[in-house]
Symmetry: C2
Subunit: 482 residues, 2 copies
């Protein structure tokens, strides 16, 4: 048998029929990323049943020099879970590992396998009057392991932080097949380097996350959702600071969108209605929340925020959702921006951040700069102003040829946007990670000192470059193909 055949029969023997396949039809859906930007090939697809199988498989891959592409829900935005075109690697799906291992309601902690889907987790803890304070559009497919590996964000980061803040402990299989186990969470533990933190956000390039212990919060008892119309994005910054002062920890969300985005949603969605009578250059969506201990005071707090914002001339107009249905309708306007913009034609999308204090100035500066450098294009920024993170989209001219435009002018535009962000000391990936999509831009724009340290760490923990090769900070020399 060739080395390749030895590997394949070893994997099949190790994992059984449910755990390993080379069937092209079975594998095919998992070879293209969610956005359809990247398509690769694979030697096979492994779906281990437990951590011990993952560890044994990693050792087998090591024996044969087979690269591994770990994959959760395959809903990442940067092609981080898609194999390259060589077909040398296997895809290692964690989706079969989807059990709750331990649920401690009193301690508000849950330990689950990496393959558990976010929405399933939400539902599992709701029954105990708890909540997991992270959510995002792909919650029906995104897995806990994928969310950890990409340090995912969402609309609740303002108050609760990104995935990193929710993770109390993880279990991961390292490149040599050893199992790193920090699942039993210690609130305080100063026994050296916090390796868990190194693995979070490492996109499967340092280890394969197989389980996690997560923190939970008391279920929400009530929320108040406000909509404000603003003359200028700089007023949104002032309103944010005001909301932080007035509402304190009750402030859970602060999203902004320009008139262009709201108009797009109103055109795109038959059910959508503008919350305010007049159109305003900018809109802010503010959510205050409370658990049982603060629910009584919430309506008065929202009213106080609204009135004081009017008094201090921070808003042109504003309103509070009258009931939960209207609150949902306000949020729908925010959630529908991406599909509504998509319907307008091709766009280059950028997931960027700058220091929170600078975001309003950045948008006010960068939008006209981009539109003047690329005539006929429209730049739109919307999203998480409270986190210094916006989705910065540049829409193609009406007459652009989709496909062609992205590969030519689109790429130039992205580099231009990334240059602007770098000049403002920001990040070219606030939420979505680097994957393969932004790998070359990272190499071009990142601080060389930081890149060098990342490569040293990668070299130390995966010296043969078998874990998710070609992603993030690849080693100069990859694995030998079979």
């Amino acid at each position: 048998m060739s080395t390749k055949d030895t590997f394949l029969s070893g994997a099949a023997q190790l994992l059984g029929e449910r755990g390993f396949t080379t069937d092209a039809d079975m594998i095919s859906p998992w070879l293209t990323d969610w956005r359809g930007r990247f398509t690769g090939r694979a030697l096979g697809m492994a779906s281990p049943a437990d951590t011990q199988q993952v560890a044994a498989l990693v050792r087998l891959c090591g024996d044969h020099g087979v690269p591994i592409v770990p994959q959760g829900g395959n809903s990442g935005m940067s092609g981080g879970a898609t194999p390259d075109k060589t077909g040398d690697a296997i895809v290692l799906s964690l989706r079969r590992m989807d059990k709750v291992r331990r649920f401690d309601v009193d301690a508000r902690q849950i330990t689950c396998d990496a393959g558990m889907i976010l929405q399933t987790l939400h539902e599992a803890v709701e029954g105990e009057n708890l909540r997991f304070p992270l959510t995002l559009g792909g919650k029906g497919s995104a897995t806990i392991g994928g969310l950890i590996s990409t340090n995912a964000g969402g609309t609740q980061v303002l108050r609760h932080g990104s995935m990193r803040s929710q993770v109390l402990g993880i279990e991961a299989v390292m490149a040599d097949g050893t199992v790193f186990d920090s699942l039993r969470p210690l609130k305080k533990d100063n026994r050296g380097f916090d390796l868990k933190q190194l693995l979070i956000g490492s996109e499967g390039t340092l280890g394969i996350v197989t389980a996690a212990t997560l923190r939970l919060l008391p279920a929400l008892a009530d929320r108040a959702v406000l909509w404000a119309g603003l003359a200028d994005i700089r007023d949104a910054r002032k309103l944010l600071l005001h909301a932080e002062r007035v509402a304190g920890d009750a402030l859970e969300g602060f999203e902004v969108m320009p008139r262009h985005s709201l108009d797009a949603v109103l055109t795109h969605s038959a059910n959508a209605r503008a919350p305010l009578q007049d159109a305003h250059p900018w809109n802010a969506l503010i959510e205050l929340t409370a658990d049982a201990s603060g629910a009584d005071a919430l309506p008065a707090l929202a009213q106080q925020l609204l009135e004081s914002a009017f008094e201090q001339d921070l808003v042109a107009d504003a309103t509070i959702a009258r009931n939960e249905a209207q609150a949902e309708a306000f949020w729908m306007l925010r959630d529908e921006i991406a599909p509504a913009e998509r319907a307008l034609g091709p766009a280059m999308q950028h997931d960027i951040s700058v220091p929170v204090a600078d975001m309003a100035d950045f948008v006010a500066d960068a939008v006209p700069k981009v539109e003047s450098a690329f005539p006929g294009h429209t730049a739109v920024a919307f999203g998480h102003l409270g986190d210094g993170n916006v989705h910065f989209h540049v829409l193609a001219p009406q007459d652009a040829t989709p496909g062609e435009w992205e590969e030519s002018e689109g790429k130039t535009i992205s580099a231009f946007v990334h240059d602007q962000v770098t000049a403002w000391k920001g990040s070219i990936s606030a939420e979505h990670g680097i994957g393969q999509l932004k790998r070359d831009e990272l190499a071009r724009l990142a601080d060389p000192a930081q890149l060098a340290i990342m490569r040293q760490v990668k070299q130390a923990l995966d010296p043969r470059g078998l874990l998710n090769p070609g992603k993030l900070v690849p080693l100069e020399t990859g694995a030998e193909p079979l």
Copy 2:
């Protein structure tokens, strides 16, 4: 000139008279750790004026193979900032670097040099109606850099987390003299490994922290301090869960102490008075706090907590401090435990944690076990029950000879306590770090997989072992002496 002389004259030239000394009288106070457990020797002491001088010095040390022991306030508990006895290393004091670099009141962020003293930071932000939510006994000497390098804790971790949670960005000089700069904080940044997290808590073995950007919170407007008497430590656990439910985010501190500790304080301090009429086997000190947005509701919340705890039979007796003076007096009882216990004679002290949910059971199990294995000794556990972290002291018998006892029976006792903690899947260092004090116990008890990964990271980032040699996870081969 010998290599040693070349180095010394190079360092003197680089740093000037204020920046480098070989004067034994000047250096001597910094060669013994705060607890007086370790005393070392040093080739010289450097006090650089800025980050560029630190970087140049690290390169000079690299050229000559001179090890570096970074030092902040020299108030660490594990000998992590004390050089070894060879006299080959220099002490690198960060104390001269003590400036605020940038203070953004609106964004509630401050950037300061690593040598800034914690108390100075507290005072600097108070004027702007803000607070830095971490404090501890050594605040008058502990520096920001030292607090970061040891991921320090304190009495506010329950609500606000340890030092790691306060750090938004750091600047550090790596072993090769490059400057790692993540000072401009991005709330969201997913450009690869979070190297900042790797450096936090690494005790100067991976890099030398030279500055940090820290988060600040609104100043406290009010607090309510409760004292409860309890029949059993397991009741303290129930009371903690109840307080979390009732008070939510207002719960800032939850400390426990046994009757033995309270009696020791009442004997030791002339001003101390017991808060409750009767003595109880256990006592809990609970602090609720509020900023301006929640101050009005605080007294009623404290009252509600007290009454519901009585109704549910969670406390034997309890009271609320009538005013700020009494609140201070309650906290003084907690803060005086360490000196009061010290007055009773020698003790082995252990800074341990187990999962929060298990701490009450652990104490109930371990205290009698230790006292039965070592007749005549008294085991006392007190501290941060809400964090799963207690100070576990074992007091020597009355007739023990100080000095002798620590070195003989004391060491056996510590190993016994650490074995118990390990059996409960806990940590032998919850707050104080490993340094040189617990280095061998870490090597004996830590998960070999985790130790191996730590050594790989250390080897990658400091291949010659010049940064704080002999601490935490030393490389097998250290630096060549001059």
